[in-house]
Protein backbone atom coordinates (compact mmCIF):
# COMPACT_ATOMS: atom_id res chain seq x y z
CA UNK A 1 0.00 0.00 0.00
CA UNK A 2 1.09 3.57 -0.61
CA UNK A 3 -0.16 6.19 1.77
CA UNK A 4 -0.06 6.72 5.50
CA UNK A 5 1.67 3.86 7.39
CA UNK A 6 -0.72 1.63 9.32
CA UNK A 7 -0.28 1.28 13.08
CA UNK A 8 0.46 -2.19 14.40
CA UNK A 9 -2.32 -4.13 16.10
CA UNK A 10 -5.94 -4.17 15.02
CA UNK A 11 -7.21 -1.73 12.41
CA UNK A 12 -10.89 -1.29 11.57
CA UNK A 13 -12.37 0.90 8.83
CA UNK A 14 -16.04 1.81 9.25
CA UNK A 15 -18.70 4.32 8.30
CA UNK A 16 -21.76 5.41 10.27
CA UNK A 17 -23.94 5.07 7.19
CA UNK A 18 -23.46 1.26 7.23
CA UNK A 19 -25.88 -0.83 9.40
CA UNK A 20 -23.28 -3.59 9.80
CA UNK A 21 -20.73 -1.06 11.09
CA UNK A 22 -23.29 0.18 13.61
CA UNK A 23 -23.97 -3.46 14.54
CA UNK A 24 -20.31 -4.13 15.35
CA UNK A 25 -19.73 -0.84 17.20
CA UNK A 26 -20.07 -2.60 20.61
CA UNK A 27 -17.56 -5.24 19.47
CA UNK A 28 -15.04 -2.50 18.61
CA UNK A 29 -15.61 -1.02 22.06
CA UNK A 30 -14.79 -4.44 23.54
CA UNK A 31 -11.63 -4.74 21.40
CA UNK A 32 -10.45 -1.29 22.45
CA UNK A 33 -9.74 -2.69 25.90
CA UNK A 34 -7.74 -5.68 24.64
CA UNK A 35 -4.04 -6.50 24.51
CA UNK A 36 -3.69 -5.59 20.85
CA UNK A 37 -3.98 -1.83 20.26
CA UNK A 38 -7.05 -0.94 18.17
CA UNK A 39 -7.19 1.89 15.60
CA UNK A 40 -10.56 2.71 14.07
CA UNK A 41 -10.83 4.82 10.90
CA UNK A 42 -14.18 6.39 10.08
CA UNK A 43 -15.01 7.23 6.46
CA UNK A 44 -17.93 9.55 7.08
CA UNK A 45 -18.14 10.65 10.72
CA UNK A 46 -15.16 11.04 13.06
CA UNK A 47 -17.58 10.81 16.01
CA UNK A 48 -18.54 7.24 15.08
CA UNK A 49 -18.33 4.84 16.85
CA UNK A 50 -18.72 6.98 19.93
CA UNK A 51 -17.33 4.47 22.42
CA UNK A 52 -13.83 4.32 20.90
CA UNK A 53 -11.11 6.71 19.77
CA UNK A 54 -11.56 7.29 16.03
CA UNK A 55 -9.14 8.48 13.35
CA UNK A 56 -10.77 10.78 10.82
CA UNK A 57 -10.58 9.28 7.32
CA UNK A 58 -13.30 11.41 5.76
CA UNK A 59 -10.75 12.45 3.11
CA UNK A 60 -10.39 8.69 2.43
CA UNK A 61 -6.60 8.73 2.15
CA UNK A 62 -6.29 5.51 4.18
CA UNK A 63 -9.30 3.87 2.53
CA UNK A 64 -8.01 4.57 -1.00
CA UNK A 65 -4.53 3.36 -0.05
CA UNK A 66 -6.06 0.08 1.19
CA UNK A 67 -8.15 -0.22 -1.99
CA UNK A 68 -11.13 -0.95 0.27
CA UNK A 69 -14.30 -2.36 -1.22
CA UNK A 70 -16.22 -3.18 1.95
CA UNK A 71 -16.83 -1.72 5.41
CA UNK A 72 -16.38 -2.82 8.05
CA UNK A 73 -12.94 -4.16 7.19
CA UNK A 74 -10.85 -5.51 10.05
CA UNK A 75 -7.08 -5.92 9.69
CA UNK A 76 -4.31 -7.26 11.84
CA UNK A 77 -1.08 -5.37 11.26
CA UNK A 78 2.39 -6.41 12.37
CA UNK A 79 5.54 -4.39 11.61
CA UNK A 80 3.50 -2.19 9.26
CA UNK A 81 2.34 -5.17 7.17
CA UNK A 82 -1.19 -6.50 6.93
CA UNK A 83 -1.08 -10.10 8.16
CA UNK A 84 -4.80 -10.85 8.33
CA UNK A 85 -7.96 -9.32 6.92
CA UNK A 86 -11.73 -9.84 7.10
CA UNK A 87 -14.70 -7.94 5.69
CA UNK A 88 -18.26 -7.56 6.99
CA UNK A 89 -19.22 -9.33 10.22
CA UNK A 90 -18.56 -13.05 10.50
CA UNK A 91 -18.06 -13.93 14.16
CA UNK A 92 -15.62 -16.88 13.69
CA UNK A 93 -13.38 -14.79 11.43
CA UNK A 94 -13.34 -11.82 13.80
CA UNK A 95 -12.57 -14.19 16.70
CA UNK A 96 -9.76 -15.88 14.77
CA UNK A 97 -8.26 -12.57 13.66
CA UNK A 98 -8.37 -10.93 17.08
CA UNK A 99 -7.70 -14.01 19.21
CA UNK A 100 -10.65 -12.96 21.36
CA UNK A 101 -13.73 -15.10 21.99
CA UNK A 102 -16.58 -14.89 22.39
CA UNK A 103 -17.06 -11.63 20.50
CA UNK A 104 -20.41 -9.89 20.27
CA UNK A 105 -22.39 -12.64 21.97
CA UNK A 106 -25.71 -10.90 21.39
CA UNK A 107 -25.08 -10.37 17.67
CA UNK A 108 -26.17 -12.54 14.78
CA UNK A 109 -23.55 -14.90 13.43
CA UNK A 110 -23.13 -13.15 10.08
CA UNK A 111 -23.93 -9.83 8.39
CA UNK A 112 -22.49 -8.77 5.03
CA UNK A 113 -20.73 -5.40 4.98
CA UNK A 114 -21.55 -2.30 2.95
CA UNK A 115 -19.76 -0.63 0.05
CA UNK A 116 -16.76 1.48 0.98
CA UNK A 117 -17.24 5.22 0.30
CA UNK A 118 -14.27 4.99 -2.06
CA UNK A 119 -16.52 3.11 -4.49
CA UNK A 120 -19.04 5.95 -4.70
CA UNK A 121 -18.75 7.09 -8.36
CA UNK A 122 -18.71 10.79 -7.43
CA UNK A 123 -16.05 10.24 -4.79
CA UNK A 124 -13.95 8.11 -7.13
CA UNK A 125 -14.15 10.77 -9.89
CA UNK A 126 -13.22 13.57 -7.50
CA UNK A 127 -10.29 11.49 -6.26
CA UNK A 128 -9.08 10.91 -9.82
CA UNK A 129 -9.18 14.68 -10.36
CA UNK A 130 -7.18 15.35 -7.24
CA UNK A 131 -4.65 12.69 -8.18
CA UNK A 132 -4.49 13.94 -11.79
CA UNK A 133 -4.20 17.53 -10.63
CA UNK A 134 -1.05 16.70 -8.72
CA UNK A 135 0.71 15.81 -11.99
CA UNK A 136 -0.05 19.03 -13.84
CA UNK A 137 3.00 21.08 -14.71
CA UNK A 138 1.68 24.59 -15.19
CA UNK A 139 2.70 27.33 -12.83
CA UNK A 140 0.53 27.47 -9.71
CA UNK A 141 -0.98 30.85 -9.00
CA UNK A 142 -1.80 31.28 -5.32
CA UNK A 143 -4.67 33.59 -4.61
CA UNK A 144 -4.69 35.95 -1.68
CA UNK A 145 -6.91 35.09 1.26
CA UNK A 146 -9.53 37.68 0.35
CA UNK A 147 -9.05 37.58 -3.41
CA UNK A 148 -12.09 36.71 -5.52
CA UNK A 149 -11.17 33.98 -7.99
CA UNK A 150 -13.09 35.39 -10.96
CA UNK A 151 -11.76 38.90 -10.34
CA UNK A 152 -8.27 37.43 -10.00
CA UNK A 153 -8.51 36.04 -13.53
CA UNK A 154 -9.56 39.46 -14.85
CA UNK A 155 -6.73 41.18 -13.02
CA UNK A 156 -4.15 38.78 -14.40
CA UNK A 157 -5.30 39.49 -17.93
CA UNK A 158 -6.63 36.00 -18.67
CA UNK A 159 -10.08 37.13 -19.78
CA UNK A 160 -11.46 38.29 -23.12
CA UNK A 161 -13.65 40.74 -21.22
CA UNK A 162 -16.26 38.27 -20.02
CA UNK A 163 -15.99 36.32 -16.78
CA UNK A 164 -14.00 33.09 -17.00
CA UNK A 165 -14.28 29.85 -15.05
CA UNK A 166 -11.34 29.81 -12.58
CA UNK A 167 -8.91 27.08 -13.74
CA UNK A 168 -8.40 25.09 -10.54
CA UNK A 169 -6.16 22.02 -10.81
CA UNK A 170 -9.21 19.80 -10.25
CA UNK A 171 -11.17 21.42 -13.09
CA UNK A 172 -8.19 21.13 -15.41
CA UNK A 173 -7.72 17.46 -14.49
CA UNK A 174 -11.42 16.87 -15.22
CA UNK A 175 -11.06 18.70 -18.55
CA UNK A 176 -8.12 16.47 -19.45
CA UNK A 177 -10.35 13.41 -19.05
CA UNK A 178 -11.87 14.53 -22.36
CA UNK A 179 -8.78 13.51 -24.34
CA UNK A 180 -6.60 10.43 -24.53
CA UNK A 181 -3.56 12.60 -25.25
CA UNK A 182 -0.81 13.17 -22.71
CA UNK A 183 -1.04 16.55 -20.95
CA UNK A 184 2.59 17.19 -21.89
CA UNK A 185 2.11 16.69 -25.66
CA UNK A 186 2.81 19.82 -27.65
CA UNK A 187 -0.18 20.74 -29.80
CA UNK A 188 1.26 23.69 -31.68
CA UNK A 189 3.58 26.66 -31.49
CA UNK A 190 1.27 29.60 -30.92
CA UNK A 191 1.97 33.04 -32.38
CA UNK A 192 2.71 35.80 -31.77
CA UNK A 193 5.04 34.81 -28.92
CA UNK A 194 5.74 31.47 -30.64
CA UNK A 195 5.16 29.51 -27.43
CA UNK A 196 4.88 25.73 -27.41
CA UNK A 197 1.34 24.98 -26.32
CA UNK A 198 0.74 21.67 -24.53
CA UNK A 199 -2.50 19.73 -24.21
CA UNK A 200 -2.51 20.92 -20.59
CA UNK A 201 -2.43 24.59 -21.61
CA UNK A 202 -5.27 24.00 -24.07
CA UNK A 203 -7.21 22.33 -21.25
CA UNK A 204 -6.62 25.27 -18.88
CA UNK A 205 -7.94 27.70 -21.45
CA UNK A 206 -10.86 25.39 -22.23
CA UNK A 207 -11.74 25.57 -18.51
CA UNK A 208 -11.52 29.37 -18.64
CA UNK A 209 -13.83 29.38 -21.65
CA UNK A 210 -16.45 27.20 -19.96
CA UNK A 211 -15.99 24.03 -22.03
CA UNK A 212 -17.05 20.55 -20.97
CA UNK A 213 -14.37 17.83 -21.16
CA UNK A 214 -16.00 16.24 -24.19
CA UNK A 215 -15.42 19.45 -26.19
CA UNK A 216 -11.67 19.32 -25.62
CA UNK A 217 -10.75 17.25 -28.72
CA UNK A 218 -12.48 19.86 -30.90
CA UNK A 219 -10.61 22.70 -29.18
CA UNK A 220 -7.28 20.88 -29.58
CA UNK A 221 -7.97 20.35 -33.28
CA UNK A 222 -8.88 24.01 -33.71
CA UNK A 223 -5.63 25.11 -32.06
CA UNK A 224 -3.64 22.80 -34.35
CA UNK A 225 -5.43 24.12 -37.43
CA UNK A 226 -5.05 27.78 -36.40
CA UNK A 227 -1.31 27.48 -35.91
CA UNK A 228 -0.53 26.13 -39.36
CA UNK A 229 1.38 28.23 -41.88
CA UNK A 230 -1.64 28.04 -44.23
CA UNK A 231 -4.09 29.48 -41.74
CA UNK A 232 -1.58 32.05 -40.47
CA UNK A 233 -3.12 33.05 -37.15
CA UNK A 234 -0.22 35.47 -36.66
CA UNK A 235 -1.15 37.63 -39.62
CA UNK A 236 -4.83 37.29 -38.90
CA UNK A 237 -4.24 38.56 -35.37
CA UNK A 238 -1.93 41.39 -36.36
CA UNK A 239 -4.03 42.76 -39.20
CA UNK A 240 -5.98 45.97 -38.87
CA UNK A 241 -8.84 44.18 -40.66
CA UNK A 242 -11.90 42.72 -38.87
CA UNK A 243 -11.22 39.04 -39.27
CA UNK A 244 -10.61 36.22 -36.84
CA UNK A 245 -11.08 32.45 -36.90
CA UNK A 246 -14.54 31.08 -37.73
CA UNK A 247 -14.86 27.41 -36.76
CA UNK A 248 -17.13 25.10 -38.72
CA UNK A 249 -17.45 21.69 -37.08
CA UNK A 250 -18.58 18.62 -39.01
CA UNK A 251 -19.26 14.97 -38.32
CA UNK A 252 -20.71 12.81 -35.56
CA UNK A 253 -19.00 14.72 -32.75
CA UNK A 254 -21.28 17.71 -33.36
CA UNK A 255 -24.38 15.85 -32.17
CA UNK A 256 -22.42 13.88 -29.56
CA UNK A 257 -21.45 17.09 -27.78
CA UNK A 258 -24.70 18.91 -28.51
CA UNK A 259 -23.56 21.58 -30.95
CA UNK A 260 -26.11 23.77 -32.68
CA UNK A 261 -26.45 23.70 -36.46
CA UNK A 262 -30.08 24.75 -36.53
CA UNK A 263 -32.08 27.72 -35.30
CA UNK A 264 -29.75 30.61 -34.44
CA UNK A 265 -26.72 28.49 -35.43
CA UNK A 266 -24.50 31.56 -35.74
CA UNK A 267 -25.88 33.14 -32.59
CA UNK A 268 -25.80 32.73 -28.85
CA UNK A 269 -27.26 30.15 -26.50
CA UNK A 270 -25.42 26.88 -27.17
CA UNK A 271 -22.66 26.04 -24.73
CA UNK A 272 -20.54 23.95 -27.12
CA UNK A 273 -20.67 26.48 -29.96
CA UNK A 274 -19.97 29.36 -27.59
CA UNK A 275 -17.16 27.89 -25.53
CA UNK A 276 -15.21 26.02 -28.22
CA UNK A 277 -14.75 29.17 -30.27
CA UNK A 278 -13.95 31.13 -27.13
CA UNK A 279 -11.36 28.56 -26.01
CA UNK A 280 -9.42 28.97 -29.26
CA UNK A 281 -9.42 32.75 -28.82
CA UNK A 282 -8.23 32.40 -25.22
CA UNK A 283 -5.36 30.11 -26.27
CA UNK A 284 -4.23 32.74 -28.76
CA UNK A 285 -4.57 35.44 -26.13
CA UNK A 286 -3.04 33.67 -23.16
CA UNK A 287 -0.56 31.16 -24.59
CA UNK A 288 0.38 33.08 -27.72
CA UNK A 289 0.23 36.48 -26.06
CA UNK A 290 -1.96 38.01 -28.79
CA UNK A 291 -3.95 40.81 -27.23
CA UNK A 292 -5.94 43.74 -28.57
CA UNK A 293 -3.78 46.83 -28.72
CA UNK A 294 -0.68 44.64 -28.54
CA UNK A 295 -0.12 42.43 -31.56
CA UNK A 296 -3.87 42.50 -32.34
CA UNK A 297 -4.13 45.80 -34.25
CA UNK A 298 -7.73 45.54 -35.49
CA UNK A 299 -9.21 48.91 -36.37
CA UNK A 300 -12.73 47.83 -35.43
CA UNK A 301 -12.64 44.08 -34.85
CA UNK A 302 -15.88 42.13 -34.80
CA UNK A 303 -17.99 40.40 -32.13
CA UNK A 304 -16.92 37.03 -33.54
CA UNK A 305 -13.57 37.63 -31.90
CA UNK A 306 -15.16 36.51 -28.62
CA UNK A 307 -16.27 33.29 -30.26
CA UNK A 308 -17.45 32.22 -33.70
CA UNK A 309 -18.13 28.51 -33.95
CA UNK A 310 -21.00 26.48 -35.31
CA UNK A 311 -21.84 23.05 -36.71
CA UNK A 312 -22.97 22.29 -40.24
CA UNK A 313 -26.47 20.82 -40.55
CA UNK A 314 -25.44 17.73 -42.48
CA UNK A 315 -28.63 15.72 -42.00
CA UNK A 316 -30.79 18.38 -43.61
CA UNK A 317 -28.32 19.36 -46.30
CA UNK A 318 -28.79 18.61 -49.98
CA UNK A 319 -25.02 18.59 -50.35
CA UNK A 320 -21.90 16.77 -49.16
CA UNK A 321 -20.58 18.20 -45.88
CA UNK A 322 -17.83 20.81 -45.94
CA UNK A 323 -15.15 18.58 -44.43
CA UNK A 324 -15.79 15.76 -46.90
CA UNK A 325 -15.68 18.21 -49.78
CA UNK A 326 -12.32 19.34 -48.39
CA UNK A 327 -10.85 15.84 -48.23
CA UNK A 328 -11.80 14.37 -44.84
CA UNK A 329 -13.22 10.82 -44.99
CA UNK A 330 -17.02 10.59 -44.73
CA UNK A 331 -18.16 9.70 -41.22
CA UNK A 332 -15.22 11.41 -39.54
CA UNK A 333 -15.41 14.58 -37.48
CA UNK A 334 -13.42 17.63 -38.46
CA UNK A 335 -12.92 21.31 -37.80
CA UNK A 336 -12.57 23.82 -40.63
CA UNK A 337 -11.15 27.24 -39.86
CA UNK A 338 -11.97 30.24 -42.01
CA UNK A 339 -10.67 33.77 -41.48
CA UNK A 340 -14.01 35.56 -41.31
CA UNK A 341 -14.96 39.18 -40.80
CA UNK A 342 -18.50 38.85 -39.43
CA UNK A 343 -21.98 38.07 -40.69
CA UNK A 344 -23.82 40.00 -43.37
CA UNK A 345 -27.37 38.93 -44.08
CA UNK A 346 -28.84 38.12 -47.46
CA UNK A 347 -32.58 38.53 -47.87
CA UNK A 348 -34.37 36.86 -50.75
CA UNK A 349 -37.96 35.96 -49.96
CA UNK A 350 -39.29 35.91 -53.50
CA UNK A 351 -37.01 33.74 -55.62
CA UNK A 352 -38.66 30.46 -56.56
CA UNK A 353 -36.01 29.26 -58.99
CA UNK A 354 -32.36 28.45 -58.36
CA UNK A 355 -31.33 30.84 -61.11
CA UNK A 356 -33.04 33.78 -59.43
CA UNK A 357 -31.69 32.93 -55.99
CA UNK A 358 -28.15 32.48 -57.37
CA UNK A 359 -28.34 35.97 -58.85
CA UNK A 360 -29.42 37.36 -55.46
CA UNK A 361 -26.60 35.65 -53.66
CA UNK A 362 -24.09 36.74 -56.28
CA UNK A 363 -25.26 40.34 -56.01
CA UNK A 364 -24.62 40.34 -52.29
CA UNK A 365 -21.33 38.45 -52.56
CA UNK A 366 -20.10 41.13 -54.91
CA UNK A 367 -19.79 43.55 -51.99
CA UNK A 368 -17.09 41.43 -50.22
CA UNK A 369 -15.12 43.45 -49.10
CA UNK A 370 -15.98 46.20 -51.62
CA UNK A 371 -17.99 46.02 -54.85
CA UNK A 372 -15.02 47.30 -56.85
CA UNK A 373 -12.42 44.87 -55.50
CA UNK A 374 -11.78 41.31 -56.69
CA UNK A 375 -9.72 38.21 -56.01
CA UNK A 376 -8.14 39.45 -52.81
CA UNK A 377 -10.70 38.05 -50.37
CA UNK A 378 -12.58 34.73 -50.16
CA UNK A 379 -16.08 34.25 -48.76
CA UNK A 380 -18.01 31.67 -46.76
CA UNK A 381 -21.67 31.36 -47.71
CA UNK A 382 -23.95 29.85 -45.05
CA UNK A 383 -27.04 28.66 -46.89
CA UNK A 384 -30.16 28.24 -44.77
CA UNK A 385 -32.55 25.30 -45.21
CA UNK A 386 -35.23 27.29 -47.04
CA UNK A 387 -32.75 28.74 -49.50
CA UNK A 388 -31.07 25.35 -49.90
CA UNK A 389 -34.42 23.82 -50.78
CA UNK A 390 -34.54 25.97 -53.94
CA UNK A 391 -31.35 24.29 -55.08
CA UNK A 392 -32.38 20.85 -53.83
CA UNK A 393 -35.70 21.00 -55.69
CA UNK A 394 -33.89 21.86 -58.90
CA UNK A 395 -31.23 19.19 -58.38
CA UNK A 396 -28.35 21.65 -58.17
CA UNK A 397 -25.27 20.10 -56.58
CA UNK A 398 -22.97 22.21 -54.43
CA UNK A 399 -20.45 22.30 -57.28
CA UNK A 400 -23.19 23.52 -59.62
CA UNK A 401 -24.21 26.29 -57.23
CA UNK A 402 -20.59 27.38 -56.83
CA UNK A 403 -19.98 27.33 -60.60
CA UNK A 404 -23.13 29.36 -61.25
CA UNK A 405 -22.15 31.91 -58.61
CA UNK A 406 -18.60 32.22 -59.92
CA UNK A 407 -19.96 32.68 -63.43
CA UNK A 408 -22.29 35.43 -62.23
CA UNK A 409 -19.47 37.10 -60.34
CA UNK A 410 -17.44 38.31 -63.29
CA UNK A 411 -16.55 41.96 -62.80
CA UNK A 412 -16.42 44.35 -65.71
CA UNK A 413 -13.09 46.14 -65.32
CA UNK A 414 -14.51 49.36 -66.72
CA UNK A 415 -16.93 49.54 -63.75
CA UNK A 416 -14.37 48.56 -61.14
CA UNK A 417 -11.10 50.37 -61.87
CA UNK A 418 -9.92 53.14 -59.62
CA UNK A 419 -11.97 56.25 -60.21
CA UNK A 420 -14.86 54.45 -61.93
CA UNK A 421 -18.25 55.46 -60.57
CA UNK A 422 -16.62 58.43 -58.90
CA UNK A 423 -14.95 56.12 -56.34
CA UNK A 424 -11.19 56.22 -55.95
CA UNK A 425 -11.02 52.69 -54.53
CA UNK A 426 -10.99 49.92 -57.09
CA UNK A 427 -8.97 47.63 -59.31
CA UNK A 428 -5.77 48.88 -60.99
CA UNK A 429 -6.42 51.08 -64.05
CA UNK A 430 -4.76 48.50 -66.30
CA UNK A 431 -7.79 46.23 -65.87
CA UNK A 432 -10.09 48.63 -67.73
CA UNK A 433 -11.67 46.70 -70.58
CA UNK A 434 -10.91 43.34 -68.94
CA UNK A 435 -13.27 40.95 -67.20
CA UNK A 436 -12.08 40.03 -63.72
CA UNK A 437 -13.43 37.13 -61.63
CA UNK A 438 -14.62 38.32 -58.22
CA UNK A 439 -13.36 35.16 -56.49
CA UNK A 440 -10.75 32.51 -57.13
CA UNK A 441 -12.21 29.15 -58.20
CA UNK A 442 -11.60 27.83 -54.66
CA UNK A 443 -12.47 31.10 -52.97
CA UNK A 444 -16.09 30.35 -52.17
CA UNK A 445 -17.00 27.96 -49.33
CA UNK A 446 -20.59 26.77 -48.93
CA UNK A 447 -22.08 25.27 -45.78
CA UNK A 448 -25.63 24.43 -44.76
CA UNK A 449 -26.97 25.61 -41.40
CA UNK A 450 -29.82 27.45 -39.76
CA UNK A 451 -33.40 27.13 -38.63
CA UNK A 452 -36.19 25.74 -40.77
CA UNK A 453 -37.96 29.06 -41.28
CA UNK A 454 -36.47 32.09 -42.98
CA UNK A 455 -35.53 32.84 -46.58
CA UNK A 456 -32.16 34.25 -45.58
CA UNK A 457 -28.57 33.20 -45.97
CA UNK A 458 -25.38 34.62 -44.52
CA UNK A 459 -22.16 35.79 -46.09
CA UNK A 460 -19.01 35.74 -44.01
CA UNK A 461 -16.33 37.66 -45.83
CA UNK A 462 -12.74 36.48 -45.70
CA UNK A 463 -9.41 38.16 -45.19
CA UNK A 464 -6.46 38.39 -47.58
CA UNK A 465 -6.30 34.98 -49.24
CA UNK A 466 -3.42 32.95 -50.61
CA UNK A 467 0.04 32.27 -49.18
CA UNK A 468 0.49 35.83 -47.90
CA UNK A 469 -2.79 35.77 -46.02
CA UNK A 470 -4.97 33.00 -44.69
CA UNK A 471 -6.22 29.85 -46.38
CA UNK A 472 -9.02 27.72 -44.91
CA UNK A 473 -7.70 24.68 -43.03
CA UNK A 474 -9.62 21.46 -42.30
CA UNK A 475 -8.36 19.05 -39.65
CA UNK A 476 -9.82 15.78 -38.49
CA UNK A 477 -10.81 15.60 -34.80
CA UNK A 478 -8.99 12.79 -32.98
CA UNK A 479 -9.95 11.57 -29.48
Amino acid sequence: MTGPPLPDGLVAIVKRDCPTCRLVAPVLAELADGALPLTVYSQDDPAFPDAVKVVDDTDLDVSFALELETVPTLLRVADGEIVDRTEGWLRPEWEALTGRAPLGPGLPEYRPGCGSRTLDPDVAAARAETTGAAHLRSRRVDLGEHEDDVEAAFERGWSDGLPVVPPTPERVARMLSGTTRDPGDVVAVVPPDLVECTIEKVAINAVLAGCKPEYLPVVITAVEAACTDEFNIHGLLATTYFSSPVLIVNGPITSAIGMNSGTNALGQGNRANATIGRALQLVVRNVGGGRPGGIDRATLGNPGKYTFCFAEDEAGSPWEPLHVERGAPAGTSAVTLFAGDGVRGVVDQLSRTPESLARSLAGCLRAVPHPKLALGFDALLVVSPEHASRFRDAGWSKARVRDELLALLQIDGDDAVRGAGGIDEGLPEGLAGATVPKFHDDGLLLVHAGGGAGLFSAIIGGWVNGPGGSQPVTREVKP
Binding site: R139, R140, D149, V172, I204, N286, G468, G469
Partner: protein, 94 residues
Protein backbone atom coordinates in the same frame (compact mmCIF):
# COMPACT_ATOMS: atom_id res chain seq x y z
CA UNK B 1 -17.91 24.95 -1.88
CA UNK B 2 -15.30 27.41 -0.70
CA UNK B 3 -13.53 29.56 -3.30
CA UNK B 4 -10.53 27.79 -4.84
CA UNK B 5 -7.21 29.13 -3.62
CA UNK B 6 -4.91 27.82 -6.33
CA UNK B 7 -5.34 28.36 -10.06
CA UNK B 8 -3.24 27.07 -12.94
CA UNK B 9 -1.56 29.67 -15.13
CA UNK B 10 -3.20 29.66 -18.58
CA UNK B 11 -0.44 31.76 -20.16
CA UNK B 12 2.69 30.86 -22.08
CA UNK B 13 4.70 31.52 -18.88
CA UNK B 14 7.24 33.65 -20.72
CA UNK B 15 9.79 33.96 -17.96
CA UNK B 16 10.56 37.64 -17.58
CA UNK B 17 7.83 40.25 -17.98
CA UNK B 18 10.38 42.62 -19.52
CA UNK B 19 13.32 41.74 -21.69
CA UNK B 20 16.61 43.63 -21.63
CA UNK B 21 17.25 45.51 -24.84
CA UNK B 22 20.54 45.08 -26.59
CA UNK B 23 22.88 47.96 -25.68
CA UNK B 24 22.48 50.94 -28.03
CA UNK B 25 25.60 52.06 -29.89
CA UNK B 26 26.76 55.58 -29.01
CA UNK B 27 27.53 56.31 -32.65
CA UNK B 28 26.85 54.74 -36.04
CA UNK B 29 30.43 55.27 -37.19
CA UNK B 30 31.88 52.05 -38.50
CA UNK B 31 28.61 50.14 -38.01
CA UNK B 32 26.68 48.19 -40.62
CA UNK B 33 23.08 49.28 -40.77
CA UNK B 34 20.39 46.86 -41.96
CA UNK B 35 17.30 48.31 -43.62
CA UNK B 36 14.42 45.83 -43.39
CA UNK B 37 11.47 46.23 -45.72
CA UNK B 38 8.51 44.26 -44.32
CA UNK B 39 6.91 44.37 -47.79
CA UNK B 40 4.15 46.84 -47.02
CA UNK B 41 3.48 49.19 -49.96
CA UNK B 42 5.78 52.25 -50.06
CA UNK B 43 8.03 50.96 -47.30
CA UNK B 44 10.73 50.86 -49.99
CA UNK B 45 10.25 54.57 -50.70
CA UNK B 46 10.99 55.36 -47.08
CA UNK B 47 13.98 53.02 -46.96
CA UNK B 48 15.41 54.32 -50.27
CA UNK B 49 15.49 57.81 -48.77
CA UNK B 50 17.06 56.54 -45.55
CA UNK B 51 19.71 54.67 -47.54
CA UNK B 52 20.57 57.86 -49.43
CA UNK B 53 20.93 59.77 -46.18
CA UNK B 54 23.00 57.11 -44.44
CA UNK B 55 25.35 56.32 -47.34
CA UNK B 56 25.68 60.09 -47.82
CA UNK B 57 27.26 60.15 -44.38
CA UNK B 58 29.65 57.39 -45.41
CA UNK B 59 27.86 54.62 -43.49
CA UNK B 60 27.52 51.01 -44.67
CA UNK B 61 23.97 49.89 -45.44
CA UNK B 62 22.51 46.49 -46.32
CA UNK B 63 18.97 45.96 -47.56
CA UNK B 64 16.65 43.12 -46.53
CA UNK B 65 13.01 42.31 -47.14
CA UNK B 66 10.49 40.00 -45.53
CA UNK B 67 8.65 37.77 -48.06
CA UNK B 68 5.32 39.02 -46.71
CA UNK B 69 4.34 41.58 -44.09
CA UNK B 70 1.69 39.28 -42.66
CA UNK B 71 4.04 36.65 -41.27
CA UNK B 72 7.04 36.83 -38.94
CA UNK B 73 10.43 37.19 -40.62
CA UNK B 74 11.82 33.72 -41.48
CA UNK B 75 14.43 32.57 -39.00
CA UNK B 76 17.17 32.47 -41.67
CA UNK B 77 16.53 36.12 -42.51
CA UNK B 78 16.66 37.09 -38.83
CA UNK B 79 19.92 35.18 -38.50
CA UNK B 80 21.40 36.82 -41.59
CA UNK B 81 20.52 40.30 -40.34
CA UNK B 82 21.90 39.43 -36.90
CA UNK B 83 25.23 38.28 -38.30
CA UNK B 84 25.70 41.00 -40.93
CA UNK B 85 24.43 44.11 -39.15
CA UNK B 86 25.06 46.05 -35.97
CA UNK B 87 21.75 47.90 -36.03
CA UNK B 88 18.57 47.51 -38.04
CA UNK B 89 15.86 49.93 -39.11
CA UNK B 90 12.46 48.51 -40.07
CA UNK B 91 9.96 50.21 -42.34
CA UNK B 92 6.61 49.22 -40.84
CA UNK B 93 3.86 51.27 -42.36
CA UNK B 94 2.06 51.74 -45.65
Amino acid sequence: MSAPRVLLDPTGEQAAPTRERAPRPASLDGRTIGLLDISKPRGDVFLDRLEEQLTGRGLRVQRFAKPTFSKPAPIDLRHEIGTKCDVVIEALAD
